[in-house]
Symmetry: C2
DNA sequence: GCCCCAAACAACGA
DNA sequence: CTCGTTGTTTGGGG
């Protein structure tokens, strides 16, 4: 379950290693989720070269020199591999052979999803979201729980169940708060926390696993972290189901309801 | 808020007084809920005679000699009137003049709804429902609350918030029970209670207000009755919101969850 | 932990 | 107390 910061690091490393490589063949698992036919995918990518690899929300966007783009969502257990012996990778869902090496997307659960040339999303990415947008959506969904709000990918792209807990702790907002009841100045804090928690995490991951294209790092998380029992400020970390998800929080966070 | 038993008595009395009368004119409030245009309604009913008046679910179905049918739903506050001076009736929504007298449907809230020649419903009426149907629908909605189930007009037509409490008390089923957890033999009791509570109520209303076409009688209800504090068997009546509705029940009722 | 869908549930208006 | 619509929540399956 890579989230935004993991994917951001993966994207830089994938781009560094893959940019300029040409796709010689495309193999995909018949059962993969795909918005076109496997045949269309093959003909769209074969002989094109990789121009860029970027993160978009929780997806990886591969841009090709022929203007094709392929979005890959890893879901819970998907992984990227770059290998000269693709046959050794288990649970291959998609394999692009790129000359001497191959890019493989694997997933033991088979839930990886691919989109060829998707229409571009109107939902802002969490790293780019602006205060005006956030306030407008909050006013449209006054009664929605703040945790459900932040992880709703139709409102904001990229935040998942781990980082939402980090962001809410950083902003000192209790996860069961209702967005319409959060005062304006606390929404400001929230906006800042979204950006800072995510960019700090990206920096941390780069420091700890500079080359990663699949392994995620989570042990530095401050509250959403089974290895910790207290927050950095010494308050006991509690867990509870919120918005149907396991949630880590402390009493430092103010409940707005 | 007439429910099935009230409407059943109204229908007999309306039929006795209106059968054979011919519609000379049709006037309806512009804002009325109607599945056709007011013009179509007029042309469909003018010069036709009333052949029958029957209850169907919570609606009154007027059958005409030209095969037209008009379904009237009284919603919360609608009423029928038969009068030789229709002008005296307030909040008229629909007025059929029938020679010497007129049938008026009034509603101070304007929520009455009319359907001309509706397609016939595949949902059984509560007085006709069979055990096989009930068991099938229960198995399809195992987790639905029994109160929500019984008043859901897409599953069973005719039961409203007052009589559902009577039926559940009679069957000794707690209103917060979940249908999938109710044992088969108790579902049998429930089926019997549906029929007996409703038909007994029809008999009682006929006894107390034999001529009624609009006044409802409720004071004989055994638990859904603000004037009573204990059930016929002496248990304190409690009230609580269940399925978003005020609910009267006692501890005699078994909770199946 | 992810997303999608369907069902259940709540809130509002008419 | 009625029904409809809309949006939200929840649970199951992939």
């Amino acid at each position: 379950m890579p989230e935004l910061p993991d994917l951001a690091v993966f994207s830089e490393n994938l781009q560094a290693r893959l940019q300029g490589k040409t796709v010689h063949s495309v193999e995909c698992q018949r059962a993969i989720r795909l918005n076109t036919s496997p045949e269309q995918l093959k003909s769209a990518l074969c002989n094109a070269s990789i121009a860029s690899v970027r993160r978009a929300g929780k997806e990886m966007a591969f841009g090709f020199t022929n203007q094709a783009t392929l979005f890959v969502h890893l879901m819970l257990k998907g992984k990227f591999h770059i290998t000269s012996v693709p046959a050794t990778v288990e649970s291959q869902m998609l394999t692009l052979s790129l000359g001497g090496e191959s890019l493989v997307v694997s997933d033991p659960e088979g839930q990886v999803s691919l989109k060829l040339n998707p229409s571009l999303s109107s939902v802002p990415d969490a790293l780019e979201v602006e205060g005006t947008y956030l306030r407008r959506k909050i006013s449209e969904r006054r009664k929605k729980g703040v945790k459900a709000f932040l992880i709703d990918q139709s409102l904001l792209r990229g935040i998942g169940n781990a980082y939402v807990d980090e962001i809410l702790w950083q902003a000192r907002i209790a996860p069961k708060s209702v967005v319409g009841k959060i005062p304006d100045h606390v929404i400001e804090d929230l906006l800042i926390s979204i950006k800072s928690v995510l960019t700090d995490a990206i920096d941390e991951i780069k420091k700890r696993k500079p080359e990663t294209i699949s392994e995620e790092v989570r042990d530095f998380l401050r509250v959403h972290n089974p290895k910790r029992s207290v927050s950095p400020t010494g308050h006991r970390i509690m867990t509870e189901q919120v918005a149907s998800r396991i949630t880590y929080f402390t009493e430092e966070q103010v409940l707005y309801v």
